[in-house]
Structure formats: structure tokens, C-alpha cells
């Protein structure tokens, strides 16, 4: 398709004002803060730390998922993802640098969250063997390294894209591709290590080589759901309305479906290998999650995180049914949050699934803060890469 046939919208920025949902981020932030205070009064103690960790890991999922989508866009040189790339760039470049200071409360109170730090753990033997890596100083330094890397990469990739908006040079695309092909390895390593540091080390004695990719699969899954829903919103009222078509939603829906299966594949493999080997130092992690209502939540993960979305998304026309996709997208948010709950909370509540007001309030707080920052950044720049070399190709219907 030739350059000449592209008709760009006159206004390339998102300028819509006064939509009912625009109030959502600030309302959510206020409600989150108020409810967190109320929740803490009624439930003092460690609950707030664990709830906060859960909400933090949830939004880290979306930040890292968005960064991943930008990276794979550059590596595969795809054309369908051009109009939605700016959304991902902005999510990554606002979420990840903001989550850096938001990680500090976890780091400061880490001694109360991670029992291995205080040495008061039932896995003293395992900890001794792992001490060269799992010691508090190195844990702190690693956290800084992850965030420095993620923040730099997400901001750098967005800057390349914004510079291309100005001069239209294809050089930026090539530079981005060169960085992404090399750095995706470090992305994978940092994500894996971060997941191990911040959630897996809650039970330091456990082993699982699937853990990082398990978090990754759930993260990209929930990010694709989010991207699909936000793209729908932008098609309704933003400059993307003339850009996004069946092709783009089909691609996003298909990828969302693929990650539904990928998550299940990883989750099952992890369980299957441990179940088959039947070694006590591995099975205890699942044994803890087989107690009381945790068993029910585990079943919900099998059916709600996998089977239901799988069967619903199986048909190609389902991926284009907007009402259905919004429902599945919101369901994916709930499932990912409960998945994190299943990973994190049995440490605090071995007796069974114990939802808390703080689970919701910390989530609302981070949601409000991060989406406010995201919308600010999204409004400040063109809503899509206006001079991307593949934009014309992307706008053709097929």
C-alpha cells in the first residue's frame, strides 16, 4: 500500500473531555486511599503489606506485559500492532518508572513480608544453601537493577517512537529493533528473577523452574485483555477510531486466546512435574494450597483462568464481539488478581482463602494512581506512531 493512500485523522492526540470514565482514575485513587486507611484500622498487622504486594504485582504485570508487547512488535516488525503500540509504550513508560518508588514500601517492610530475611524460617537449611544469592543486601540491589533496566528500556523505546513522530526517519525503527533483539534476553531474565525475589521467595524452600514464565504468561494475558479493552474505548472516542479495524481486534483477540492456552500449559506443566516427582521439598507448596478453601480457589484457576476463557474465545467471531470481549477482559483482571492471591496469600492465611478489604483498596489505589499518570502521558503525545513506516500497511483492511 502506498503512502499516499493513508488518511490520518486531523487531530492525532486524544483530546476527548468529560467522558464519564475519565473520573474513574481519580475516584479510584481517593476511594483506594480512604478504604486502605479504614481497612488498616479494622485489620492492622501484616495484611496491608501482603495486599499491597498483591496489587503491586498485578500492575507490574501490566507494565511488564506492555513492555513485552512493544519489544515483540519491534522484533517481529509486525504491521497490525502499529496503531496500538503507542498505548503499550505509554503504559510501560508510566507504569514501570512509577512502580519503582511504589516498590520501596515492599522493600522497606521486606523483613516482615519475607520470613527468610529475618532468619525466622522453617527452611533454614535451604536458605543456607541459597544464601550467596538470597541475602537481603543483594535482594535490595537487584530490585534497583530491575527497575533501572525496565524504566530505561521503556522510556528509551517510547522516545525513539516519539522522535520518529517528528522526523519520520525509519532509522528509529531500526535502532529499536536492534536494541530489542538483544535486550529481550535481559527482559526475560529480569522478569524471572523479580518474580522469584518478590513472590516465590515468600516460601524460600521451594523450587520451580517454571515460576518466572508462569508469572510472565499471566502478565501478558492480562495485558492483552487490558489493551483490547482500552483499544475499544479509543476506537469509540479517540483518534484511533478511524485506524483500528477488524484486523487489529482479531489479532489482539487471537493473541489473548493464545496466552490463555500458554498460561494453562505453563501452570499445568509446573504442577504435573512436581506431582509426578512427588518430592516433599517441592510438593509442600501445593500441599499448603490444598487446604480448606484454597483448594476451591485452585479449582477456580483451572476452570476460570483457563477452561471458561478458552471455550469462550475459541470461535473467531467471539474475538470480535465487543460486549463479550469486555466481559472476558474484566474477568481476566479478576482471574489474574485471584491467581496472585493464590500465590501470595496462603503464606499469611494458611487456613484458607481470606479476601480482605485491603486487597481491593490497595488495588484501587494503585489503579487510580497509575491510570491517572498514564492518561496524562497518553494525552500529551499523538495517540499512535504517526510516522511509522508500517502505518500505511497496518491500515489496509487485510
Amino acid at each position: 500500500m502506498s503512502e499516499a493512500s493513508i488518511t490520518l485523522p486531523k487531530e492525532v492526540k486524544y483530546t476527548s473531555q468529560g467522558q464519564p470514565w475519565h473520573k474513574l482514575p481519580s475516584l479510584s485513587l481517593i476511594a483506594g486511599v480512604v478504604l486502605t486507611v479504614v481497612g488498616f484500622i479494622f485489620q492492622p498487622g501484616k495484611q496491608i503489606l501482603f495486599s499491597y504486594l498483591q496489587a503491586f504485582m498485578f500492575f507490574l504485570s501490566i507494565g511488564l506485559g506492555a513492555l513485552f508487547l512493544v519489544i515483540v512488535h519491534h522484533i517481529f516488525d509486525a504491521n497490525w500492532s502499529v496503531p496500538t503500540r503507542r498505548i503499550c509504550e505509554n503504559v510501560a513508560a508510566t507504569f514501570l518508572p512509577t512502580l519503582f518508588p511504589l516498590w520501596l514500601p515492599i522493600a522497606i517492610f521486606s523483613g516482615q513480608i519475607y520470613d527468610w530475611m529475618s532468619g525466622d524460617t522453617e527452611f533454614a537449611v535451604a536458605l543456607e544453601a541459597k544464601e550467596a544469592w538470597m541475602n537481603t543486601t543483594w535482594w535490595w540491589i537487584r530490585g534497583f537493577i530491575y527497575f533501572a533496566f525496565w524504566s530505561w528500556l521503556s522510556l528509551y523505546l517510547r522516545n525513539l517512537s516519539l522522535n520518529q513522530d517528528k522526523d519520520g526517519s525509519s532509522r528509529h525503527t531500526h535502532v529499536a529493533r536492534r536494541w530489542c533483539t538483544r535486550l529481550i534476553l535481559f527482559y526475560a531474565i529480569s522478569l524471572t528473577l523479580a518474580a522469584i525475589d518478590w513472590t516465590k521467595s515468600l516460601q524460600i524452600g521451594w523450587f520451580s523452574t517454571m515460576y518466572g514464565v508462569y508469572y510472565f504468561a499471566g502478565s501478558v494475558w492480562v495485558t492483552l485483555a487490558t489493551l483490547y479493552m482500552f483499544s475499544l474505548l479509543m476506537k469509540k472516542e479517540g483518534p484511533l477510531s478511524t485506524l483500528l479495524g477488524t484486523k487489529h481486534f482479531k489479532a489482539m483477540g487471537t493473541l489473548f486466546f493464545a496466552f490463555t492456552v500458554f498460561y494453562a500449559y505453563i501452570a499445568f506443566s509446573q504442577y504435573f512435574i512436581i506431582w509426578n516427582a512427588n518430592l516433599p521439598e517441592e510438593t509442600f507448596w501445593y500441599a499448603v494450597r490444598d487446604v480448606g478453601s484454597w483448594r476451591g480457589l485452585g479449582m477456580l484457576m483451572i476452570f476460570g483462568h483457563f477452561f471458561v476463557p478458552f471455550l469462550v474465545l475459541l470461535r473467531i467471531d467471539a474475538k470480535l464481539n465487543t460486549t463479550l470481549m469486555v466481559l472476558v477482559g474484566l474477568w481476566a483482571w479478576l482471574m489474574h488478581l485471584l491467581d496472585l492471591n493464590f500465590i501470595i496469600m496462603p503464606v499469611l492465611h494458611p487456613e484458607g482463602f481470606s479476601p480482605s478489604l485491603l486487597d481491593i483498596s490497595t488495588w484501587l489505589m494503585l489503579f487510580g494512581l497509575l491510570t491517572t499518570l498514564f492518561m496524562k502521558s497518553f494525552r500529551a503525545h499523538p495517540a499512535f506512531p504517526i510516522k511509522d513506516p508500517r502505518l500505511g500497511e497496518s491500515l489496509s483492511t487485510h
Partner: protein, 180 residues
């Protein structure tokens, strides 16, 4: 009926460009024909819509194949390990969906793929050794540089004169009658 004269297969219209073919297809679609097809040397984007083709039904064959594979896989492991010859392996139960899952999963893929293949062949009425169009000399250029549209005589709406007029209105290069 004269037994010597051959039976009519359909009307074949030839076009020079994909755009002409596409416009013709839109017109034929709007007239509600069902037994007709287009032929081109390469895939034409947007032709499915121009022909009014719905999503393929092959998916249903895949789904039935996959579901059968999954069920058969689970039943097979249950039958072998827990019913016909109960065997304790590694202290595991006689039957569990956990260890039968890889087998069920493989059979889901195998029968799903076979279902797709068989469904595709069935819906395309394959295998078929011959198509009357292949006797037509000009039709050979469908694999080279010409674009064709054929309406079969077996279509309920087919009427030699009326259909010919309709095809003429789409400005083809030529219209030929193809015999069985």
C-alpha cells in the same frame, strides 16, 4: 431430452483484472446465487466479503475431533490403568486426570487435526478426480494471468439467458458455456 447433446455445467466469465472480478462477485452475491465460485492466480484480499462467504464450517469438525480426542484419551488411560489391568505406579492412584492429561492433550491435537483435514475435504467434496472446468482451454489461464467467475447450471436461480445477461452486465472479456 437429446441424449447426444452434453449437459451444461455452467457459465464461465473471464476478466482481466482482480478489481473487475471483485465487482462482478459483489453483483452475483447480491443476486443470491449459491453455487458459484471465482478463480484467480493469487489470493485476492477482500474476496471473501465480495463473495459473501461466511466463516468456514471446518472449525466445527476441528472442535468435534478435538473433544473426541480429549475424551478418548482420558477414557483410554482409565480403561488401561484403572479398569482392565489396575497397576500401581510410583504410589500414584489408578486413575488421575493429571497423568492422563498429556495423553488426552496429544489426542485432542491429533484428532483435532484429522477432523480439520477430513472436514475440509468433506466440505470441498474432495477427493474428486475431475472438474468440467479443466477441459476448458481458456480456463488454464486461471493459473497465470486471467480471472474467472463461474455460475453452475445446478444453481436454483440459474437460467441460461437471464444469467448470461447478468454476467454480461459485469463487463467480462468473454462468456463461455462449459459442458459436463
Amino acid at each position: 431430452m437429446d441424449t447426444n447433446s452434453q449437459q451444461l455445467h455452467g457459465l464461465l466469465a473471464q476478466f482481466d483484472t482482480p478489481a473487475d472480478l471483485m465487482h462482478a462477485a459483489e453483483k452475483i452475491r447480491d443476486h443470491g446465487f449459491s453455487r458459484w465460485d471465482v478463480f484467480s492466480p493469487f489470493p485476492i484480499h477482500g474476496m471473501d466479503d465480495a463473495m459473501g462467504l461466511k466463516n468456514s464450517k471446518v472449525g466445527w469438525f476441528t472442535f468435534v475431533g478435538g473433544s473426541t480426542g480429549f475424551t478418548v484419551g482420558l477414557l483410554m488411560i482409565w480403561f488401561m490403568n484403572a479398569y482392565d489391568y489396575p497397576l500401581i505406579v510410583g504410589g500414584k492412584p489408578f486413575f488421575s486426570p493429571i497423568f492422563s492429561f498429556p495423553v488426552a492433550y496429544e489426542l485432542t491435537i491429533l484428532l483435532g487435526a484429522l477432523g480439520t483435514l477430513i472436514g475440509m475435504a468433506f466440505l470441498n467434496r474432495l477427493p474428486r478426480l475431475h472438474n468440467p472446468l479443466l477441459k476448458n482451454q481458456s480456463f488454464k489461464r486461471a493459473t497465470d494471468d486471467k480471472f474467472f467467475l463461474v455460475i453452475e447450471a445446478s444453481d436454483a436461480k440459474f437460467d441460461l439467458e437471464e444469467t448470461r445477461k447478468l454476467l454480461e452486465s459485469t463487463h467480462p472479456v468473454s462468456i463461455e458455456e462449459v459442458q459436463e
